[in-house]
């Protein structure tokens, strides 16, 4: 059997599992069996392409998982096979996983990292200045360009509307350069209406470039359409939406990011250090389990260009430096100098 031959009917394995469910559950666990051997970036192509193999494969996974989890796991696995086969046929080569660098998060996401062919929605927490989500997205883009060999030279499409430019400003080349992103790769689209932004995102996906877009809101149909385009072309979209609006459906993942007090600066205790983010995964299509639990605290390093888990939220006492209060003077702009 040629393992690369596509499965003529990918739905069959599911039926196979449901027919032979009682038997494998009663089997004793086999030594060395792992629930999902294909998650760590191995090609999952040795999986049953034939009906006859299915019971045996199902037996393997019937270790001690409850029935629901077993079915969910297999379904996710089939989904990833199908998606990956499409990616492979498009790319002609295997993709590296797109990881954040923080292993605890990457392991939760399944598939070794973020989905390279999906829409990832990132929302700011309500409390920050709104830039935490954007900063997080830029850093994910840096990770993406660093890890995908073919993405290191392609442009990055940045799409916004005029309105959000007035509110949030524009990308600044020197700042992006510090992150490790060549600003000359950036293609900026400033559209008048959000429908034009959606069109531009789709065009970008068709050209297989990573897209970062800022929108107030995205409706169900548009999100589904972008999701399909991302999947078909195997490139991701990082979608920044307004935190107050309803989340989009049919995204590969949804994150809520807010800023945290930064790490200590190496040389100056009073200066801001490496930025930290509180990251909550609110949705993950491949791994529903990833959304549970406490938010993670991630710290970005400009030197290694990766995120790092910060063990436990360090809640420093935020006190202004001890000083004579009389020295501080309120200076409304435009009023007398010094006096």
């Amino acid at each position: 059997m040629d393992p690369v031959a596509p499965n003529p009917n990918p739905r069959h394995p599911v039926h196979g599992v449901s027919q032979s469910r009682p038997e494998p559950l009663s089997r004793p666990p086999e030594a060395g069996a792992r629930p999902c051997p294909d998650r760590n970036g191995e090609l999952p192509l040795a999986v049953p392409a034939d009906l006859n193999d299915v019971p045996a494969a199902a037996q393997k996974f019937a270790v001690d998982l409850p029935r629901q989890a077993l079915i969910a796991g297999l379904q996710a696995r089939i989904g990833s096979i199908e998606r990956r086969e499409r990616q492979i046929s498009l790319q002609g080569s295997k993709r590296e996983p797109w990881t954040s660098g923080a292993s605890a998060i990457d392991a939760r996401l399944g598939g070794g990292g973020l989905d390279c062919g999906g829409v990832h929605e990132i929302k700011s927490g309500m409390d920050s200045n709104g830039n935490a989500a954007l900063g997080f997205a830029w850093r994910l883009a840096v990770r993406f360009s660093g890890q995908q060999p073919q993405a290191s030279q392609t442009p990055i499409l940045w799409c916004t509307t005029d309105r959000s430019i007035g509110e949030m400003g524009r990308p600044h080349g020197p700042g992006l350069m510090r992150l490790g992103l060549d600003p000359q790769r950036l293609l900026l689209v400033e559209a008048r209406r959000s429908i034009d932004v959606l069109w531009a995102i789709e065009e970008g996906l068709k050209s297989r470039v990573l897209v970062l877009a800022m929108l107030d809101e995205i409706d169900l149909v548009a999100a589904r359409r972008l999701s399909l385009a991302a999947e078909a072309n195997a490139v991701p979209v990082l979608l920044l939406t307004h935190p107050a609006h309803a989340p989009a459906a049919s995204t590969a993942s949804r994150w809520r990011v807010s800023s945290l007090p930064s790490a200590d600066h190496s040389f100056d205790s009073r200066a801001p250090g490496a930025p930290r983010f509180r990251v909550q995964i609110e949705r993950c299509r491949n791994r529903p389990l990833a959304c549970e639990g406490q938010p993670h605290v991630l710290e970005w390093s400009d030197e290694t260009r990766r995120f790092r888990m910060v063990p436990g939220v360090v809640d420093r006492a935020h006190a202004p430096p001890k000083s004579d209060e009389r020295k501080w003077r309120r200076l409304p702009s435009g009023l007398g100098a010094g006096r």
Binding site: N131, P171, G204, S262, H318, S333, A337
Partner: protein, 560 residues
């Protein structure tokens, strides 16, 4: 070979009734144009309307609209692009017209050099033109000759007005025989001033042929005029092809031009799209033969009713791939109105460029998207959203943050990178810069120690934030040479390759609205209690002169 068509006024009414157009002249209403029936009653342009009414009391009249006439003629000239790209309207006062300021002689010319074989020869082209003009109900006269001057003379003084019934309504001088064909025409046909015509006639020189034998020196001496262009000798030489006569075409001449006519007008969008695709394939083969690529392309639809619709598309790199060009046009084709049908399609390459070595992959249709060539994406985005909405960032030699980079229209991509000079130098890796720069620094209220303390709290967008950590100041002095340039604008700041003019929409010049001259800035990077980062600056120093005013604080960028 030149061709000159002479289109008369529009809507002169049914042939049966005498009808004139009138305009307000020095002595009341004056006839500016008359139809054939009115001419038969001896009504002539230039007459007072009262005189014309005396000749024919039931004469109907309408008000002349010279501007509308001009526009109609321009539309017709645009439509004449189907016969050749080099064409324009010609508006000149009639020679010898009694009311020269009113009577205008409307004509248009088409240069059909190297084009007529596409129609099966000069005669076939002229027949096609006459038939179509007659179909539009236009009273026109058509002349064909080697030179523009001769064609002008033939069309106006020899050709009959075209009609469907006339078998050969145009006058065509065979190549090389121009002198013989115009010698019998009156001297007015040479486009001379009316005073000159009168003087010539007084001398007994009534026909163009009379001038042939005269000694040139004598002719020149007698008719020496300040405007040598319209001198007798100059006009004669132009008509006979001894002297070149430059003319301006209606639109820029395309580098390459492909067209396709249809026996039955196309109406359906599908048909239009299919034919455009076929035409583009033809064009791209042609581009390949010439070894060039198109940067700007125009698609022109010649509608059956004599109007023209056109769309243009630009590309950021030379292109000769029909699929790509078709995609650029595909969006716009839907918005075009085919009207009563399109009977000719033309694709014109307005700007063409030679391929650079790096563009070869593009030309040969290698898997571009995998190799990461962004130009197709840029083209699609720019053509749909407008070139002023798709940008790339180009670094620039400046320490002032908002001047450190230029937003450059992506469509002019390749030329921009050349003109920007030393590139990477603009982006300094060492200094801390935010990822987001506000499009305009926003004033904030700051609590800080005087004179150069770190802010302890600030109010931005009506929210007060307490500062926990801060770094700074980073002092950025104004660029003195720019304030010098402001004082002496003509001496400095010439638009050169070093300092390209910022594109539309780029933040220009001083971001700080109130102060006139740029001041020293102290930048601070702040972090508030929630951990959000800000980049603020104090514009000016304490201790500046009174006229500069007190320093003010601004929010300029955001850190995560």
């Amino acid at each position: 070979m030149r061709e000159s068509g002479d289109a008369c006024h529009r809507a002169l009414g049914p042939d049966g009734d005498p009808f004139v157009l009138v305009a307000t002249g020095r002595h009341g209403l004056t006839v500016t144009a008359a139809n054939a029936a009115a001419m038969a009653e001896s009504v002539r342009p230039g007459m007072a309307l009262a005189d014309a009414r005396a000749l024919f009391p039931a004469l109907r009249s309408g008000l002349a609209e010279p501007e509308e006439d001009r526009r109609a003629l321009l539309r017709l000239a645009r439509w004449c692009g189907r016969y050749g790209p080099d064409r324009n309207v010609e508006i000149a006062p009639v020679a010898g017209g009694a009311a020269g300021d009113l009577v205008r002689d409307h004509g248009l010319w088409i240069d059909i050099t190297g084009v007529s074989h596409l129609f099966g020869g000069d005669e076939a082209l002229a027949r096609d033109l006459c038939l179509r003009l007659a179909g539009f109900d236009l009273t026109a006269r058509v002349g064909l000759a080697d030179t523009f001057g001769a064609a002008h003379a033939l069309a106006r003084f020899s050709a009959p007005p075209i009609a469907m019934s006339t078998p050969k309504p145009w006058i065509s001088a065979p190549p090389g025989l121009t002198p013989d064909w115009i010698e019998a025409l009156p001297v007015e046909a040479l486009r001379l001033e009316s005073a000159t015509v009168v003087a010539l006639k007084r001398l007994g020189l009534r026909r163009i042929g009379d001038l042939y034998g005269l000694p040139r020196a004598a002719l020149e001496r007698r008719f020496r005029e300040a405007k040598t262009v319209s001198g007798v000798l100059a006009r004669l030489d132009q008509a006979l092809g001894r002297k070149a006569e430059p003319r301006r075409p209606l639109a820029g001449l395309p580098e390459l031009w492909v067209r396709r006519g249809f026996a039955d007008p196309l109406i359906s969008a599908d048909g239009l799209e299919a034919e455009t695709g076929a035409l583009l394939a033809e064009l791209c083969a042609l581009l390949e033969t010439h070894g060039i690529g198109a940067r700007r392309i125009r698609l022109v639809l010649y509608r059956a009713d004599g109007t023209v619709a056109q769309v243009a598309a630009g590309t950021s790199a030379p292109v000769r791939e029909a699929r790509h060009i078709m995609r650029l046009f595909a969006d716009k084709l839907g918005t075009l109105d085919a009207g009563f049908g399109v009977d000719m399609l033309a694709v014109e390459v307005l700007v063409a460029e030679r391929f650079a070595a790096s563009d070869i992959a593009l030309a040969n249709g290698v898997d571009l998207e995998a190799s990461g060539n962004p130009s197709e994406l840029i083209d699609r985005l720019s053509n749909r959203l407008g070139p002023a909405r798709v940008f790339v960032l180009r670094p620039r030699q400046s320490q002032i943050p908002e001047r450190a980079e230029v937003r450059w229209p992506a469509l002019s991509g390749a030329t921009a990178s050349k003109s920007c000079g030393p590139v990477a130098a603009g982006h300094d890796r060492l200094s801390k810069r935010p990822e987001i720069l506000l499009s305009r620094p926003e004033p904030i209220t700051v609590t800080a120690e005087v004179p150069d303390g770190v802010p302890a709290a600030f109010t931005w967008r009506r929210v007060t934030r307490r500062v926990i950590r801060a770094e700074g100041p980073e002092r950025i002095a104004p660029e003195w040479w720019r304030s010098l340039a402001r004082r002496m604008p003509e001496a400095m700041e010439r638009p050169g390759p070093q300092d390209p003019a910022p594109p539309l929409g780029a933040p220009l010049g001083e971001p700080v609205p109130r102060s006139s001259a740029p001041r020293t800035r102290d930048y601070y990077s702040l972090e508030d209690t929630s951990g959000a980062g800000y980049w603020v600056f104090r514009n000016g120093l304490y201790g500046d002169t009174a006229e500069e005013g007190p320093p003010a604080w601004f929010m300029h960028g955001l850190f995560p």
